[in-house]
Amino acid sequence: MTTFLTLLFYFSAAVLLVGVSLKIAAYARTPAPLLIPTTPAPTTTGGVVLRMLREVTLFESLFKANLWTWAASMVFHASLALVLIRHLRYFTEPVWSWVALAQPFGLYAGLSMVLGLAGLWARRIFVERIRYISTPSDHLMLALLLSIAASGLCMKFFSHTDIIGVKSFILGMMRFDLQPLPADGALYLHLLLVASLLLIFPFSKLLHAPGVFFSPSRNQADNPREKRHLAPWAAELEK
């Protein structure tokens, strides 16, 4: 199992890195021939950075759209961030002090993450409009995230895992010096699910994470009268 999971992680991490990098490169390479910020929009680059920050930290547009969806996704994403920070302790030796400080928050966040996901799923099931637009993969994605959270919490609250062993396994993977993984069903499941999440990231709607930064309606400054904006293929037409 140790070898299998190690290889799986190497593989999925590679797919994630290469896949997302290729996507980002493709987004960056594709020209945006016309200025199309959704106005009112900031007129300067600094303003655009602020708009983007508000968008990715406060979900400003979603807030305007629907308070319930906003609340559920805020709870989910903020919890996810805290949980990820909590997990950094498995990747650092010695553990960074701020990661150590965040440990208790990360724990509660595991619970609130489940709540957030449940809220999002409830919307998908009970709101007619959203049920209509949902594909099987939308449900599966929520199922996957929920199972990851549940299997993780399970190891904390029910069947304690040998976390020292987990840490040495992970550090070993990072240093290409394999260490045995503690034999534990919940742990196997947790790691398998996480690996599959990494694997599907570059092929799924999880691309919203890098995508938002490339969204022309959000990342362009509103300055068309002051600056001439011309894409290479459009410039060809003037020749």
Binding site: K23, A26, Y27, T30, P31, A32, P33, L34, L35, I36, T38, T39, P40, A41, P42, E55, F59, S61, L62, K64, A65, N66, T69, S73, E128, R129, I130, Y132, I133, S134, T135, P136, S137, L140, I200, F203, S204, K205, L207, H208, G211, V212, F214, S215, P216, S217, R218, D222, P224, R225, E226, K227, R228, H229, L230, A231, A234, A235, L237, E238
Partner: protein, 511 residues
């Protein structure tokens, strides 16, 4: 039309209606004929062999994906959160789930996934991917012609996904395989042939303008001029051709002329560029967008004007404000010879291009105009923000100037101003229901239903404040409301232009 078109009932509680799948599947605008298609460089009709069309659609989609970052990112990034799902006026009015912005996008996203992504190739059912069939293409034709490209959905999407971009891409693909929409493509043909969307030839335009001079003289006793093709004029006014004879548009044209008269700035219209509208945007075709705009560049160079001012028109202002610098060099900050040629001629101390509302407001602030506000006392006025002005352009120096400046003008020229409900104005404004190349009679049912949210908001201020005039700065809004207001039980003259109010109140001659 077999059945008389009636207005849908107002919603008692303005929440989201239950879905009525397929209720608008029969909304299909007339298809452009071969002549219209070929006149603007598209294939005349669909190939007889489906496979050929199929391959052409996929190839065109691939091409657009490599040319437009918006399309590429938007097709990937949607998480089906549903934040946009209840934001479209066509969905609210028709209850057809395919009019939810996200569902409209999915009509194309399903094809994108199938042909351009790994999971869609491997597990189409799982990710909502499907094969491109003739039925899919027909569905595109129907539902992408039920989007006015108003961008309301993009305000609320956490990734700014703008369904208008997808709609434009879809229309571009459909055109490229010979499946164009008659209304838009016929109009584009007219612009190239005659110079404006309405097909009003130069001599007729001259007559109309002369007639207007006489009318205004009769009305006010003052010689307000409507100059045409005057070389060396300071300002070139580019305005939607509807301003030349449609009601109530023409009253705003009179307003612009009076403002120019009072300002003492010399100005001219152009018979070559007698159209501000640019339907190239509606069909998502860059070459047409540019070609139509080029008439403005030519006219400006030929007449040697120093400034370009744009009349009351929503999508035209988007094209002028956001795209002209890119397309034809009207603007500032260029470092290429093509644009510099024009920018050297223009007086860059002024905004290029400038909206007529910016021009008027600027004069008002400098004390250059005086008004008899009481002349508008018969009106209790509200303001309808037009979608392209609100969400795709700006006026003045600050973000949101496009909301403040027209309102400031109204408050300067009239005493009674009332706002409509605030989730129906400014950046959250509802489209009139007739934008995006849908202002055609065979789509009247859709247009009436799409106007529902605006009509509800108008009814509310009519009941509470006695509003009897809805000012707007868009030729399409004016034409659309003139048609649908009576269907909702209002007088058609409730809609009018901002410069119509200016025209009523402006004092000429006694300065």
């Amino acid at each position: 039309m077999a059945d008389a078109i009636t207005a849908p009932p107002y919603r008692i509680i303005p929440i989201i209606p239950a879905l009525k799948p397929g209720s608008m599947a029969g909304s299909i605008p007339y298809i452009a004929n071969e002549k219209m298609q070929e006149a603007i460089g598209f294939p005349g009709k669909l190939a007889d062999n489906w496979q050929e069309t199929h391959d052409a659609v996929i190839a065109k989609m691939g091409e657009l994906l490599s040319k437009y970052r918006s399309l590429k990112v938007y097709l990937d990034a949607c998480v089906h959160c549903g934040a946009c799902s209840d934001k479209c006026h066509y969905f609210i009015g028709t209850q057809d789930p395919k009019n939810m912005p996200v569902a409209r996008q999915d009509l194309m996203r399903s094809i994108y996934r199938r042909y351009f992504t790994l999971p869609g190739k491997l597990f189409p059912k799982l990710v909502g991917a499907r094969d491109l069939t003739r039925e899919v293409l027909d569905e595109w034709y129907s539902y992408y012609n039920q989007c006015s490209e108003c961008r309301r959905c993009s305000v609320f999407c956490p990734y700014g996904i703008d369904t208008a971009e997808i709609t434009m891409a879809a229309k571009e693909i459909l055109d490229s395989v010979g499946y164009g929409q008659k209304y838009s493509n016929e109009i584009i043909g007219k612009v190239h042939k005659i110079g404006n969307n309405l097909g009003l030839p130069g001599p007729a335009l001259e007559n109309t303008l002369e007639g207007l001079e006489e009318d205004v003289k009769e009305d006010t006793g003052i010689d307000v001029r409507f100059p045409l093709d005057v070389k060396g004029a300071e300002v070139l006014l580019i305005t939607p051709s509807a301003d030349f004879f449609a009601e109530p548009h023409i009253d705003s044209l009179i307003g612009y002329a009076k403002v120019f008269h009072a300002s003492g700035v010399s100005w001219t219209l152009s018979s070559m560029a007698s159209e501000a509208g640019n339907f190239g945007m509606f069909i998502g075709n860059y070459e047409q967008l540019r070609k139509i705009a080029l008439r403005v560049r030519e006219a400006a160079l030929e007449l040697g004007v120093k400034r370009i001012v744009v009349g009351e028109c929503g999508h035209a202002w988007r094209v002028a404000y956001s795209f002209w610098n890119t397309l034809i060099g009207v603007g500032a900050g260029a470092n290429d010879p093509y644009a510099i040629q024009l920018q050297n001629q223009l007086d860059l101390r002024y905004k290029q291009p400038m909206h007529i509302c910016e021009f008027t407001w600027d004069l008002i602030q400098r004390g250059g105009l005086s008004f008899d506000k009481e002349a508008n006392d018969k009106h209790i006025i509200t303001f309808h923000d037009s979608c392209n002005v609100a969400r795709a352009s700006r006026m003045g120096d600050l973000p949101g100037g496009q909301f403040e400046i027209p309102r400031n003008i109204i408050k300067t020229v009239a005493n009674n101003f009332v706002e409509m409900r605030d989730n129906t104005t400014r950046e959250k404004t509802f489209c009139c229901g007739g934008g995006g190349g849908l202002l055609t009679d065979e789509l009247l049912d859709l247009r009436v239903k799409g106007a529902l949210p605006r009509m509800e908001a108008l009814q509310q201020v009519t009941d509470s404040h006695g509003v009897n005039f809805m000012a707007t700065i868009c030729a399409i809004c004016k034409a659309q409301f003139t048609k649908v207001l009576p269907i909702y039980g209002f007088d058609r003259r409730v809609v009018g232009g901002v410069h119509q109010l200016v025209s009523n109140a402006i004092k000429l001659g006694d300065k």
